[in-house]
Symmetry: C2
Subunit: 127 residues, 2 copies
DNA sequence: GGCAAAGGTCTATTTCTTGGACCTAGTCGA
DNA sequence: TCGACTAGGTCCAAGAAATAGACCTTTGCC
């Protein structure tokens, strides 16, 4: 341990760390947003795309692939022409919404405080 | 509304949306990790750096700046030589840990399920 | 004089994202 | 019969962002 560390036991994430493993996937630009959107029910690729608005098709495609890979969502392809693909949450995905809900609720409740902090910060920087 | 949307009311994030505003900041590669680390108490730059392990100094610096800007953490500079800088959570930051805790708890509990989903997926892809 | 310290910043290189063109194949209208 | 259109992607070139590592600061110590 480094002698002037303030934290008694040097806190280091264990490798491999389940929290990091999950956060690395979920904690990207889009995954939480996609899950949030899918809370509203089964949706098609283009509907999700429209709902988020400013995600590129490629990133949406990649994000959906990751979420499917990790078992959060299910992808159902109807081999029609043109193809139809539906996405919906698995039980795992739905169970994830519980803690995620807490987080978005917090975001909603504390948004004002965050904005105020930003303004105060901008003032200090501008002065 | 697009006629074959499966979701009755076309779900689109309002602009500006508090959830997106918060998630865009918090939902990056490192912010959650930094907050998680700071839960353990006041820490210096290099201690946080060591704790996370694979973050670059530049990204850590930027992440800390953002978190300070948004009022999650407090930065205290002691103008000694060499300089000493300590970071700790504000009340806002600490209050954020509550929902975040739920999330990491979920991550811990469901890590195995996620790994299994990944394996199953790899099998399907490999077959 | 020369090195070390902590907390960064600067730069060159690699990696990630983006917007937009393109693909597929069946159905519709002209 | 020809062409356009559809949904869900993929591919590519170009721009944006992250990384590793050199460098900077000021003071104390050998």
């Amino acid at each position: 341990m480094n002698q002037d560390d303030l934290v008694p036991i040097p806190f280091v994430f264990e490798q491999p760390c389940p929290i990091r493993d999950v956060l690395d996937r979920i904690g990207d630009q889009w995954s939480l947003l996609v899950l949030q959107v899918l809370e509203h029910g089964t949706m098609r690729f283009s509907a999700i795309h429209r709902a988020i608005g400013d995600i590129s098709k490629q990133m949406l495609s990649k994000t959906l692939k990751h979420l499917e890979e990790d078992g959060f969502i299910r992808r159902t392809l109807y081999p029609e022409v043109p193809p139809r693909v539906e996405y919906d949450l698995t039980d795992l995905g739905r169970s994830f919404l519980v803690p995620m809900k807490q987080l978005t609720l917090w975001a909603d409740e504390n948004h004002r405080a965050i904005c105020e902090a930003r303004e105060k910060h901008a003032d200090r920087a501008g002065a």
